[in-house]
């Protein structure tokens, strides 16, 4: 359904360009969940932003590569058609729910933005209620709230609800639990992956925690310094990592009763 071929992305840093993603290729099939793992700065988020063409033009640009989605080449699509893809076909959940919701808009208004942006979606108010109930939120209260009146976990659920409003077939989840505490992390992951299964969505789940993704995803791709270093079925990568770097990532997961010395 989605295939990325030889993607190269550069960022501008003080007059120089820095290569953030190098010759990155990855494919995701319909209904499949893929974990994209790597340390901070390895280019994982950049891959997700490139798919939706959300890299700020002042900060960087896609140098070369091809991103095919359902037979369309996303990188050569005119901006107007790209808007029809966003949230409607491919939606993204951001890392920090404390900054990804607009502080001066009520949740209802922010959710309405998706419906307004896509005339093909029915604009009935019950859609918002359904979307919030899908993520187990009490819709009446949440709809009339401002983001600061909600907890981090509630906000991230709202983000998931917003992402699902456009009935996309692919979700890009960019470290959706990193900013949350451990218990809430588990809740959010539960909500996200049960919906993924239920709705048959494809998912690219970005994280720096290799242990987190193996239980939830079908396949894992490991990134280092902008390159894909390893890719394979989750369990296989987890049990027998072929790359030294993947082993390092695995050993970095803290476990009870074992010294990391």
């Amino acid at each position: 359904m989605l295939s990325i071929e030889k993607l190269n992305v550069e960022y501008y840093r003080g007059g120089k360009t820095i290569s953030a993603v190098r010759d990155f290729s990855l494919a995701i099939n319909a209904g499949e969940s893929v974990g994209l793992v790597g340390e901070s700065g390895s280019g994982k988020s950049t891959v997700a932003l490139s798919i939706l063409r959300l890299i700020r033009p002042q900060e960087g640009h896609i140098v070369s590569g091809k991103i095919q989605f359902q037979g369309q080449d996303l990188l050569s699509l005119p901006p107007e058609n790209m808007r029809d893809i966003r949230c409607r076909k491919i939606a993204m959940i951001f890392q920090d729910p404390f900054t990804s919701l607009n502080p001066v808009m009520r949740i209802r208004e922010q959710m309405d933005e998706v419906l307004k942006a896509h005339p093909s979606l029915s604009a009935s108010p019950s859609r918002l209620v359904e979307a919030l109930e899908q993520v187990q939120l009490e819709s009446t209260r949440v709809l009339n709230s401002y983001p600061h009146q909600l907890s981090g976990g509630q906000r991230q659920r709202v983000m998931i609800a917003i992402a699902l409003l456009g009935q996309p077939s692919l979700i890009l989840a960019d470290e959706p639990t990193t900013a949350l505490d451990v218990l809430v992390q588990k809740e959010i992951l539960g909500v996200l992956f049960s919906l993924q299964k239920k709705l048959g969505l494809a998912m690219l789940f970005i994280t720096h925690n290799l242990g987190l993704v193996t239980t939830y995803t079908h396949r894992i791709a490991v990134m280092k310094e902008g390159r894909l270093v390893e890719e394979g079925p989750s369990q296989a990568v987890f049990r027998q990592p072929s790359e030294a770097y993947t082993r390092q990532l695995l050993e970095a997961i803290p476990r009870l009763g074992r010294s990391t010395g």
Binding site: P57, Q58, N102, H148
Partner: protein, 275 residues
């Protein structure tokens, strides 16, 4: 959030005083034609240059007109010049600032260099030159004050827009498929409105002051329409025999500008406690 702002504002006594005075002046400006005790343009040459008395609370001018009535009507003129001029400069400054900040690149360079040029021109002389060319009347005064006072605001809005543009919620809105125009005006603008509001409030005081100066110099509101500046200008000729003709318009200007400044600074304290 609004509630918190309101509470903070109420605790700021100077700002509350500013708000009350501004509110009072606005009401006065609206009703002035109906409450003024005398016809402000009625001349009475038998009662020229009379000091304050029960029949003329603030005395009369060189043509025997009632100064209090003229000041009341002047409130209307001065405030409308202040509000309209700031309305113009706010619209222009906000729009250009958002544009430069959001799109960046050559637009940013072009607009900000224009701002630099505008800020380096002594505004009062530019206004004087333009008014001498176009002819002095109240509409030209409003327009020219408005069109020369936007650069500071544009720069302010650009700076705010640059920082808001980078926030994740702007990217999230883009992800939702929101159009560029909506992104600018629905998602970014409300987040930069606080500094605009503060700057506009302070700007009204400045515009009133400029209008008074222009009218004083004879290039602003033209007689017989009364404005604080042109009353003051008549007063200058009779300063040694008719102090009331200078004192009351001066007080009116002072109180009004002070009230707007207190209100503006109070708003700044409330909306942006860091400064």
């Amino acid at each position: 959030m609004i509630k918190i702002y309101f509470q903070r504002f109420r605790q700021n006594h100077l700002a509350m005083a500013g708000l009350l005075i501004v509110g009072f002046l606005t009401v006065l400006a609206l009703v002035s034609p109906w409450v003024s005790p005398k016809d402000p343009s009625l001349q009475d040459l038998t009662a020229r240059l009379q000091g304050p008395s029960p029949s003329h609370w603030m005395g009369t001018d060189d043509l025997g007109r009632d100064v209090f009535s003229r000041l009341l009507l002047g409130t209307r003129i001065s405030l409308s010049v202040g509000f309209v001029a700031v309305g113009i400069s706010m619209s222009v400054g906000t729009f250009l600032g958002l544009w430069a900040g959001f799109f960046g690149g050559k637009w940013d360079t072009l607009l900000m260099r224009l701002v630099d040029v505008m800020l380096s021109i002594p505004t009062l002389f530019l206004i004087l030159a333009v008014l001498a060319f176009l002819g002095p009347n109240i509409y030209n005064v409003m327009a020219i004050i408005g069109l020369t006072s936007w650069p500071g605001l544009a720069r302010l809005v650009r700076g705010e827009c640059l920082s808001v543009r980078e926030r994740e919620y702007v990217q999230a809105a883009k992800m939702a498929g929101v159009s560029t125009a909506r992104l600018l005006f629905i998602h970014i603008l409300p987040n930069v409105v606080a500094p605009i509001l503060v700057s506009a409030t302070l700007g009204v005081g400045g515009a009133i002051l400029t209008e008074s100066a222009l009218s004083f110099l004879g290039l602003g509101v033209q007689p017989p329409t009364p404005s604080w500046g042109n009353i003051l200008s008549i007063g200058r000729d009779y300063l040694h025999i008719a102090w009331w003709l200078s004192l009351f318009p001066t007080l009116a200007i002072l109180v009004t500008v002070l009230a707007f400044n207190l209100l503006g600074e109070g708003l700044r304290d409330v909306l942006d406690p860091r400064t």
